[in-house]
């Protein structure tokens, strides 16, 4: 078909995003739910393989590729968009509704892209559209944070483009398949993916920006950008050993920051970073089980992470803050939100019967199968950390602990419904993983429910919970206090500006010193000139015309005298 590129669910979402700019505000909610639902139907109708071939200036672009890997990501992106749309049903702000649709569309388009140019276009579109969900807060702080976020995202896009050009010149192909790290183009693209995937030291845009988006915006943000990056890594760099190390570090270091962070949406952002680590390890291991694990974990993670962000968004909407130091005892006012938050917490902690249990364990098993005992131990350590920051800290300090005295309304019906459906899916996947296993990239030969797995996992989690009980009763658990904790972003928010300022000050001093010397010389010359040419100077005496004429007469007289008598 010549026009089959039009049959792209991503285009449908983007068009709906444009429509949202003009549509009556009461239709924005329905549009945000119906569009991704239609998109999902459309996706399921698409045949496997490469379609939507477009020729552009001699380049052949594959705008639509449905295969085992892209399908599972496209499905969960649609589901996330439906749930986020329902959660934001009440939002009348066109900027947010439009941006959310275009953003989800761009992410879906990127996942379905079969070539690097289409990927690049969608990649940049996710950056430009998603920043509006931060700016929609319309505060000076949101503006600054959004700008920082946008700069970093656009840098990632530019690296992707540069890498794609280098790769094209080396291979003559723009196809987005396995790229590998044995060429400069591959490395540049790897770095582009790494920024979006929040690799260690490239991660701070995530913790900086996500907590500053609107209550509903963070739910949307949490679903797409980073998981798109995991997909891109799985497509381009599966089996690269370096990813195992990067992923293991990613699972471990954010948990320490999450423990001492006060803003609970920032805690969840650190937690998101830690969960990405599990997926990156899966991609790095590169075996069928590991890649299945990464895909399944991305699927489950999008749901429970959205659920946790939804519950904190509801708290933000009702109480006006998600700082742990200001919260507590909310279970009395928001019992349903409390329940859904706990379900999200149990899912991410991977309790049996919850989604994390059937997905994360695939990655750990794959690591063990590759004899990566150190990586496996780090992942197990990180699993205990997950229980702390997302399973205990977030629900405990907001809904229980000391009653902070907030007496607020329960979340609006649409938020509760969205949380309810998401919570249902988290449990459904945990109880009945087979439908998810059926759409994974490779055939699944994995049984999560063995007595060994259930008992050992419960031991790990319950003894970690026991440690929490002991620590909090002894008063050893760190108090929630208002603070900013320095992270790597200190380098570009404080150190770099300070260095530049110092450098400029130094240059100014040098400049003024050089100028002082030059000016001194110039002044000396001017003084000299002033002496000779100034008033009373030799060169500036005012000689009258009469004097000149008399001198001329003297010369003429001398000339006459000599011409006669010589």
């Amino acid at each position: 078909m010549a026009n089959d590129w039009l049959m792209n669910p991503a285009l449908l979402m983007m068009l709906a995003g444009l429509l949202a700019i003009r549509l009556p505000t009461k239709l924005l909610g329905p549009l945000a739910v119906v569009t991704p639902a239609l998109g999902l139907l459309m996706l399921c109708q698409l045949p496997n393989g490469e379609q939507g071939i477009v020729s552009l200036y001699g380049l052949t672009l594959t705008t639509l590729r449905v295969d085992g890997l892209s399908f599972v990501w496209a499905v969960i992106f649609h589901i996330a968009a439906i749930l986020a749309g329902l959660y934001a049903w009440h939002v009348k702000d066109r900027m947010q509704q439009s941006a959310a649709l275009v953003y989800a569309g761009a992410a879906i388009g990127a996942v379905l892209a079969g070539d690097l140019l289409t990927l690049f276009l969608c990649w940049e579109l996710t950056a430009i559209s998603s920043v509006l969900l931060i700016w929609a807060n319309r505060t000076a702080r949101a503006y600054t944070v959004g700008l920082r976020y946008l700069v970093i995202q656009v840098i990632s896009g530019l690296l992707l483009m540069a890498g794609a050009i280098v790769h094209y010149q080396a291979t003559g192909s723009l196809a987005f398949d396995h790229l590998g790290l044995d060429s400069p183009g591959g490395w540049i693209i790897f770095l582009a993916f790494g920024i979006k995937c929040a690799f260690p030291l490239l991660h701070n845009w995530l913790q900086d920006a996500y907590p500053e988006a609107t209550a509903t915006g963070t739910v949307v943000l949490s679903a797409f950008t980073t998981k798109l990056a995991v997909y891109a890594l799985a497509r381009g760099f599966a089996g690269e050993d370096i990813l195992i190390t990067i992923g293991a570090v990613m699972t471990a270091f954010p948990i320490f920051f999450a423990v001492i962070e006060n803003d609970l949406r920032r805690v969840l952002s650190y937690s998101l970073n830690n969960q990405l680590g599990f997926m990156v390890v899966g991609v790095g291991l590169g075996t069928e089980l590991a890649l299945n694990g990464a895909a399944a974990h991305a699927f489950a993670h999008i749901l429970y992470k959205a659920l946790l962000f939804m519950s904190m968004g509801a708290v933000l909407l009702r109480v006006g803050t998600v700082k742990a130091s200001e919260l507590g005892g909310l279970y009395k006012s928001m019992p349903w939100t409390t329940l859904f938050c706990i379900i999200g917490g149990m899912s991410i902690s991977a309790f049996p019967l919850f989604s994390g249990f059937v997905t994360k364990s695939m990655i750990l098993t794959a690591a063990a199968a590759e004899h990566q005992w150190l990586v496996w131990t780090v992942l197990l350590f990180a699993s205990a950390g997950v229980l702390d920051h997302s399973g205990i800290k977030v629900p405990f300090f907001s809904f229980f602990y000391h009653d902070a005295g907030h007496r607020v309304k329960e979340a609006p019906w649409n938020m509760l419904l969205a949380m309810g459906v998401t919570a249902f899916l988290c449990i459904a996947i945990g109880v009945w993983p087979e439908p998810l296993y059926a759409i994974l990239p490779f055939p699944v030969d994995y049984k999560p429910y063995t007595s060994y797995h259930i008992i050992t996992q419960l031991q790990l989690l319950m003894f970690a919970a026991l440690a929490f009980c002991v620590l909090i009763r002894k008063g050893w658990y760190p108090e929630e206090i208002r603070s900013t904790n320095l992270d790597f972003d200190w380098v570009y928010r404080r150190l770099l500006p300070a260095v530049v300022k110092k450098l400029l000050a130094w240059m100014w001093r040098l400049d003024s010193a050089v100028r002082a010397v030059v000016m001194k010389a110039v002044h000396a010359v001017i003084e000299k000139v002033a002496q000779s040419h100034g008033p009373g100077g030799v060169m500036s005496r005012n000689l009258s015309t009469g004097t000149m004429v008399s001198w001329l007469s003297v010369f003429l007289a001398l000339y006459l005298f000599f011409s006669f008598y010589w």
Partner: protein, 83 residues
Amino acid sequence: MKTSDKKAWLEQPANVDKLVYLVYLICGVLLVAEFFYEKHPYFGFDGSFGFYAGFGFLAYCTIVFSAKALRRVLKRSEDYYGE
């Protein structure tokens, strides 16, 4: 909302104690369970008695205490960046 002197169920120390004892009980049961299932350790060390239980407890304590130490180095005032 609640004006009576009686605290909510969860806020009475005796009930909080009950919940903590419940956690102790579950942990105890899980340790006893060690004798009653077939182990399939991946490496060997993970098959030793109560490995996951000990690991969970120690990992949790390590995380919390290192984070507390980290806080001493990293904590700044809330408006540190002045935004």
